[in-house]
Symmetry: C2
Subunit: 226 residues, 2 copies
């Protein structure tokens, strides 16, 4: 049996100041010690049930986040991607609201706009690029962006999140129709957004069954219909 | 570094007698010796550039097929899936015309309708199920099914392939519009299907640039428009 290096890496994404950002952490070991990289590491055979479990453990250790939306991205592999030898990285992506990441500086983490990522070791730049593509593609027809919101949000706030991810304005009527179709939101009884000059807006939350599972639509949000 | 078992498995799919079938081969080693399973095996560090390269090698060794349409499906991992210990399988799927598989009996292979797969070892049944779901989902908005056709085919033949994969009839006008949108086909000059009672139909082939790369549409074939 060949000795393949087998690791897990996580692309942790959030929305901050209207930009999609990825969490990078200083590596505390060789190779590439002290370089910013994706959080990741070896699978712990005794501790981890499977690779997703390992990814969740790494995120928990780095950020304290217990159960973010976490999905497998792809497996990156080959002879050349790690100076230590033939290696496999099972890559995951996670989406969290920015408020969940306020403390990452304490563990050597920073948030970088995904367009400005550079100088990453291994093939981490490719992994980030694929994750961003996947999130943008899935956002056109699913509930994925809602995981970038906090626990409570108004429909205009959620629409702004979709617009930032998709990089284009969305017609309000068509957006609300899509949200009804996805059937992922429930109004929070009696909860209105306050402290704004205009009329207070109803606050919503994600239905519990969609915390881990996406809701999908047949037609995309940006497929031309308004 | 933990000793993770690191393998590659391939879901080789074809269309035969109007049914989507998966190629299974008798395992020649323990565990599960002599049981039908997906073709797969260990990565060869010296020989394989990456996991996709390993998957292509395994297909070549089992079937003689040199360069099928081959794409990564997902990574399956965990403590319980292989009796030998904590393991990772990087799973791929490949689509080939049935004519390319006429000789697989000689290497202990059989073609089984995907709905009738049973008794597979490891989590191979889950891998097959995910591959079939992926192929069906991608077929609604891409050129994927064309890889199940031979080198030359008529538009009605290609439409029948799409209909078999999607499991529903497709409006002819809407199908032809989608094919134009995908822009993957070129007529073969002077080549007509012959030997049929009705008027001979133009033969087409896949444009070379789409042999390895899918063409995608924004809206699905079965998204309601006719």
């Amino acid at each position: 049996m060949p000795a393949i290096i087998c690791t897990v890496d996580v692309v942790l994404l959030t929305l901050e100041g209207n930009a999609l950002k990825v969490a990078l952490f200083q590596r505390d070991k060789e190779p590439f010690k002290n370089t910013l990289a994706l959080p990741g590491g070896f699978i712990h055979e005794q501790e981890d049930q499977d690779a997703q479990d390992a990814a969740a453990r790494m995120l928990r250790d780095k950020t304290g986040i217990a159960s973010p939306y976490l999905e497998q991205l792809a497996c990156f592999s080959g002879r050349g991607r790690d100076p230590r030898g033939w290696s496999v990285s099972i890559a995951y992506y996670a989406l969290v609201p920015a408020i969940a990441l306020t403390g990452i500086g304490a563990s050597g983490g920073i948030l970088t706009p995904v367009e400005r990522v550079k100088g990453l070791p291994f093939d981490h730049a490719d992994i980030v690029r694929m994750a961003v593509e996947r999130v943008r593609a899935k956002s056109t027809y699913s509930s994925l962006p809602v995981h970038l919101c906090g626990e409570q949000f108004t429909l205009p706030q959620l629409q702004a999140v979709y617009e930032t991810i998709l990089g284009e304005p969305i017609n309000k009527v068509s957006f609300r129709r899509k949200m009804e179709e996805l059937d992922i939101l429930e109004p929070i009884a009696g909860a209105m957004e306050s402290g704004k000059a205009h009329r207070p807006a109803q606050l919503y939350q994600l239905k519990r069954q969609f915390l881990r599972q996406l809701s999908l639509t047949d037609r995309g949000l940006n497929s031309g219909s308004t």
